[in-house]
């Protein structure tokens, strides 16, 4: 039994220790906003915040989150930065297919939590692990800058 906190709620799950957090979120807790894209931390679609840091939940065993606080896309908008990022995403009409966008938003929020005024190079470095096949990168970049400006 692993106990941790998801989006402010204490949960306990009875799955094998090596089960990735991604599948605990999606299959056990029915929080399907977090996406499966590659299963090996190559695409970022599964990004969540673990004690405030972005992690790839597809390679994070559930045993590693015992006692920790996990925030997912379903709740990130409750924070000031999350709300500003999601607002900017809507203003810029960022998503196309939208499948990668949960992970993009989670990475962007983590970036702005660390760096209030990211340069293009900062954005490249923070977002390089999040793949978008539709090609929304230009709008993601613009939305991150807009959110930063709004938060300043």
């Amino acid at each position: 039994m692993t106990r941790f906190n998801v989006n402010g709620n204490d949960v306990s799950v009875d799955v094998g220790d090596s089960t990735p957090l991604l599948w605990v979120l999606r299959d056990s807790l029915e929080l399907t906003g977090t996406k499966y894209g590659c299963g090996m931390a190559q695409c970022g679609a599964c990004t969540v915040h673990l004690n405030g840091r972005p992690v790839r939940s597809c390679v994070t065993p559930v045993s590693a989150v015992e006692g920790a606080a996990v925030v997912t896309i379903e709740q990130v908008g409750d924070g000031r930065i999350g709300a500003a990022v999601q607002e900017a995403w809507m203003q810029h009409d960022v998503p196309q297919c939208g499948y990668c966008q949960s992970g993009q938003v989670m990475s962007a929020v983590a970036l702005l939590a660390d760096n209030a005024a990211p340069t293009d190079a900062d954005i490249d470095a923070a977002m390089v692990g999040n793949v978008c096949r539709c090609g929304t990168y230009a709008r993601i970049r613009a939305a991150i800058k807009a959110a930063a400006a709004r938060l300043a």
């Binding site: 799955v15 094998g16 089960t19 990735p20 599948w23 999606r26 299959d27 056990s28 029915e30 399907t32 906003g33 977090t34 996406k35 499966y36 894209g37 590659c38 299963g39 090996m40 190559q42 695409c43 679609a45 997912t72 896309i73 379903e74 908008g77 999601q86 995403w89 809507m90 009409d93 960022v94 998503p95 196309q96 297919c97 939208g98 499948y99 990668c100 966008q101 949960s102 938003v105 954005i123 490249d124 977002m127 390089v128 692990g129 999040n130 793949v131 978008c132 096949r133 539709c134 090609g135 929304t136 990168y137 230009a138 709008r139 993601i140 970049r141």
Partner: protein, 758 residues
């Protein structure tokens, strides 16, 4: 311009499809695409023909006159597409898959504009499989060929206009006034006598009225939504994790299935030991299953993805390779090279006699790899079978581009009638063609797994999920392709003769589409972009379609992915060798094509090409190409940093006639540009060694990432003509624009994708 009269538009369509000067001219030029499209329509149930022959005249007749709903086809009935709630909320059924391209919003805009709806109260849903939702031109339910808006533009306008006329009629009857005294505005009916009502108050009475056969459509100056940069309806859900995709669907009691597939295309299970797999907690069942293209595999059924994955990892399967030779990229390259020197099937006639006496010749060989689509959402489908006898039904929840074909394929496997197969179209996380398989491969496999499950006496719903590795190794690639061009130049630098040979496995031979898109042995999708080039060139094209035991498929912009690269890089080489400016040469060769010139001139003007001095080490690269009836031009600024091309800026212009949603058009061009950039990057290729695909996931199959996206400006050529394709046309000219800038810097023409480094 847009014809405000629907009959004119219909006749226009028929004209274009059956006897148009344009179509004939292209057909004469040897382009199989238009010709075949014509045959397709003819053979595919003549829905286009029916549209063409309905001619009642009186297109300006009042909305309520000439009512005869019996004349109308299911795809013309507002009730199938539109629900207006008592609260005035409008729900529109969209007859296409939404997988990023924006048709979900675009088609809702089109209908809502003619309906005079209040956009803030409009929602849109993806329609399930059904006759009303078939493409009005092709006669099957499908999403592809950048056709969503172009083929349903008039249809959705008419649906909106018909519903509006019915609302007006209902109000006129209720208020006992003439319809001419009622106008509409943002979801309200307003009478000259001062009375008014919300659409919601009249909708029940309105939708029970006969559907008017003819309606008057708006003129472009009356549009309130069409042509406006409306925000996407799905953006809020997609920005907050609330958007449901097929992958997220669940049903009570559902099991998750992963399939162990053979490492060779067409391979089979010689035997397997599942003891360790069955010992994994959560694994319920392990079954041998039949798979696509005669293969067999082993399905692991479990409670959730992870047990299914671990169970599959613990299977021990002995695989048998197919009897045929195992495909190997190295051997294929040698085989294709041997074919390049021989004449293939004629795809376009041209006089090549000028080659012999040419002052100079260019001989250029090109090579393009297999490419996987790799949409972000791996393939998946949820299937449920229930009921007995006449009540027997199969329900499938999935993101698919090909509902009609899927329905028929699944029905045959489960021994049902197609109408017993209910496909609930789900939002899809990308597709790029992968969800439009003539074999319906992933849904056929899903149905076969369900068949085995039922045979085992089980009936719980099954969600069959692909891993990323299954996706990368699963075939249905953009075909490995080679081209050879032999070009004879005259003393004046003019093009005297051009002999062009293409070697490309046919995507469509052996499929249901062969009858429509393969003519005299030539697969139109292999030669498009060269055989029907707009350039005034004496090009003779022949093609070889070698049999290759690798499943191939259309990949965003299909044959144009390679043909535009070949044509556009050669045009640059001809220009430079002849001392001409590449833009000036293109203008000369395109002088009879105003849409090409408009796109090219707009991109050139906005970029500053030829005016703005570039820093040392930078060069311009230009390309222009027509595909899916739209023309796109890109102008890039590029330098070479180390051994890698670096894009500093991209200026794009698209001529897609009327841009229904300029914001979406911009997004599609940006996305297509990025996908094309991806094809130039090292590692963007699928290779095979002794029948096995060598790549497996995003660490060894390169996809473009944030740092690969340059600053980009997208410009749209203003037009009121009926919309043409948007989802794909931005892709073909981008890689050659990059290559042309590299050529300008290095003096070495680029002959392959990805662009070789070092």
């Amino acid at each position: 311009m847009i014809h405000p009269h629907p009959m004119h538009h219909r006749i226009g369509l028929a004209h274009q499809a059956f006897a148009g000067d344009g179509a004939e001219a292209i057909a004469e030029a040897g382009a199989a695409v238009s010709m075949s499209r014509r045959r397709f329509i003819k053979l595919a149930g003549a829905s286009g023909l029916a549209i063409g022959l309905v001619s009642t005249g009186g297109v300006r007749a009042a909305a309520s006159s000439g009512s005869d709903a019996a004349e109308l086809k299911p795809d013309q009935q507002p009730n199938a597409f539109l629900h207006i709630g008592k609260n005035g909320e409008v729900t529109i059924q969209v007859n296409r898959l939404e997988f990023g391209q924006g048709s979900h919003t675009g088609l809702a805009q089109v209908l809502a504009d003619e309906l005079d709806a209040d956009w803030s109260r409009v929602r849109a849903e993806l329609a399930p499989a059904g006759d009303a939702y078939k493409d009005p031109v092709f006669g099957i339910q499908m999403t592809g060929g950048s056709n969503s808006i172009q083929n349903s533009f008039t249809q959705y306008r008419e649906l909106g206009a018909r519903a509006r006329a019915m609302l007006v009629e209902a109000a006129a009857r209720t208020w006992e006034v003439d319809v001419s005294t009622i106008r509409t505005r943002e979801g309200r009916l307003i009478s000259t006598d001062g009375r008014s009502a919300d659409y919601g108050e009249m909708s029940e009475a309105a939708m029970a009225l006969p559907v008017p056969a003819s309606v008057t459509l708006k003129t472009p100056d009356q549009f309130r939504l069409i042509g406006k940069p409306v925000k996407r309806l799905d953006t809020p859900a997609k920005s907050t994790g609330r958007q449901f995709f097929g992958m997220d669907m669940r049903r009570a009691g559902m099991k998750t299935v992963l399939i162990a597939r053979p490492p060779y295309f067409g391979g089979t299970v010689a035997g397997f030991d599942d003891a360790r797999a069955r010992a994994v907690e959560g694994v319920d069942q392990v079954m041998r299953v039949e798979l696509d293209r005669g293969a067999t595999g082993v399905a692991v059924v479990a409670d959730g993805f992870w047990p299914a994955k671990v169970g599959r990892d613990h299977l021990e399967v002995r695989w048998e390779a197919p009897a045929s030779e195992l495909p190997d990229t190295g051997r294929l390259a040698a085989q294709f090279e041997a074919l390049l020197v021989r004449d293939g099937l004629p795809a376009r006639a041209g006089d090549t006699s000028g080659l012999a006496g040419a002052a100079r010749t260019i001989t250029a060989d090109f090579r393009f790899p297999f490419l996987a689509h790799s949409p972000m959402e791996p393939l998946n489908a949820l299937i449920e079978v229930g009921g007995m006898g006449a009540e027997r039904r199969c329900d499938i929840w999935t993101g698919t581009q090909f509902q009609t074909i899927d329905q028929g394929t699944v029905a045959a496997i489960l021994e049902l009638e197609p109408q017993q197969v209910h496909i609930h179209t789900q939002f899809a996380g990308g597709g790029f063609g992968r969800r439009a398989t003539p074999t319906a491969d992933y849904l056929a496999d899903t149905a076969r797994v369900m068949k085995a499950w039922l045979a085992a006496g089980r009936s719980e719903p099954l969600k069959v999920v692909w891993t990323r590795e299954d996706d990368v190794r699963g075939g249905y690639y953009r075909p490995f392709t080679m081209h050879r061009a032999e070009i004879g130049l005259g003393e004046d630098g003019g093009i005297a003769a051009w002999k062009h040979t293409i070697v490309s496995p046919s995507i469509l031979k052996g499929t249901a589409f062969e009858a429509f898109l393969v003519k005299d042995g030539v697969d139109a999708t292999a030669v498009e972009g060269i055989a029907d080039t707009a350039y005034e060139l004496p090009v003779a094209v022949s093609v070889h379609h070698p049999e290759v035991a690798v499943p191939t498929l259309w990949w965003r912009s299909v044959g144009h992915t390679h043909s535009a690269f070949v044509m556009e890089t050669l045009i640059d080489q001809i220009a430079r060798e002849g001392g001409r400016d590449p833009v000036e040469l293109r203008r000369a060769l395109l002088r009879k094509h105003p849409r090409h010139l408009a796109a090219l001139d707009l991109a050139v003007a906005k970029s500053g090409y030829g005016e703005k001095p570039l820093p040392p080490g930078r060069a311009w690269g230009v390309a222009v190409h027509e595909s899916f009836r739209s023309v796109v031009a890109h102008v890039v600024e590029l330098s070479i940093e180390g051994d890698r091309p670096k894009l500093h800026h991209v200026t794009s212009a698209i001529h897609c006639n009327l841009a229904v949603n300029p914001r979406s058009v911009e997004a599609q061009v940006q996305g297509a540009v990025l996908m094309a950039i991806g094809t130039t990057l090292a590692g963007a290729e699928i290779t095979l060694r002794d029948g096995r695909v060598e790549q497996s996931n995003f660490h060894d199959y390169t996809v473009p990432r944030m740092p690969d996206m340059p600053p980009i400006d997208v410009h749209i050529v203003p037009s009121d003509d009926p919309p043409t394709g948007v989802g794909e046309p931005g892709l073909p000219p981008m890689a050659p624009a990059i290559a042309n800038a590299v050529y300008a810097l290095t003096g070495e023409p680029v002959r392959s994708l990805p662009i070789p480094l070092g």
